[in-house]
Amino acid sequence: MGIITAGKYEGQHPLHPKARQILLDAFDQGWADPTQISSQGRQAQALLLQARESIAKSLNLQVSEIELWGEPELISPIAIWGAPSFGTAPFIYGATERSEIIGMRAKSKQSFEISVGLDGAIDLELLTQTLQPNSIAAIQSANIETGVTQDLKAVAKAVVAQNAHLHIDATASGARFVKPPYWSTLHFDARSWNGPSGVGVFALKNGARWSNPLPHTRPTRAPNSFSIPLALAAASALEHWIADEAANSTRLKSLIERVRNHVKQTIPDVDIAGNAESTLPNIISLSFLNISSEQLVAALEIEGFSVASGSACVASALEPSHVLKAMGLLTHGNMRINLNHDVQDGEITKLLALLPGIISKLREA
């Protein structure tokens, strides 16, 4: 099944088959410690070096700019925490950033939330007014719940004018991320390119100031305790993802457009997050008025679509999605479609044929 809808924070597609094979081989052979000078250690070191070079190249970064992390969720908080003057200088973040980024405000004496409009775009004027020299700004490349992308070129222009630190959460864009002319730190998660969970990439721009905030005795930028087999699988998955993307990006975009247009035309009272020009080509978020997400999920499940939702009643949280709330969109009756490269056009055709009937039936009940 090529369609999934994201859980509260992260959609995860199955591991790419080639990456899975690498992972199995790597675990079968057993992996030596690459810091030891045994022949297996040297082999592991060489493979790891190749993987790092491959990941850097795929993400259009220098090898010296990337570090692999075994606990991807920690990357953004640590990237922000290690920025010069974090804690005393203003910490500025967008209202639709991931919760663990917003949570960093507790560690800063001054923090400012930049609001977003109904289209999900951050208020650039407010950002420009709020920025001060040495501020730390955290702005996402795209949002995992809605697919809404930010105008990073404009953000970078505002941040560079104050010589501030710009951290970009690229976990939703993954390999679709396009570097703006100015940035300081980046966060990627291998899951975004169908790699394994448990591997993330932290990037620090060459020349940018940053220091590892974790206790350490050697001058390292990362703990380097990640799993080597997972790192190799992540590099392989990324290469394959890029090849698949080249073959499928136009198709995914047109499938999402089909969903957008069909839903708009056939179902009244629906909030669709963002617009076609400023959202990722594979994600769409739909919120139906007077619909219980729980019932919607169950009804789609009967038809063979395994979907989830960000609405409070499904995410087993009382609080509704902070992302939909910040955008002023309906938080109930939400479903998110997140397309993988292997989605069949027929799956979307079937979903679109069923959806209007399911919604009107649920609304009548």
Partner: protein, 70 residues
Amino acid sequence: MVAELDCRGKRCPLPIIELSKKIKESEVGQEVLLISDDPATAADLNAWARMTGNEFIVISADNFLITKSN
């Protein structure tokens, strides 16, 4: 005369569904006092008002006065 709609203890999206029903049955100009302690209600009322063209004011954390406007 303000109609009262007590949705305390009801979880999202029930308060909005019940409000939609109440408003549908009402005449233009009718005011409805919605009492809801669900944390999604305040956010969803904004979206509901925008989508349906009705108006509301927040009286307190769980009291909302809605006016049927069209």
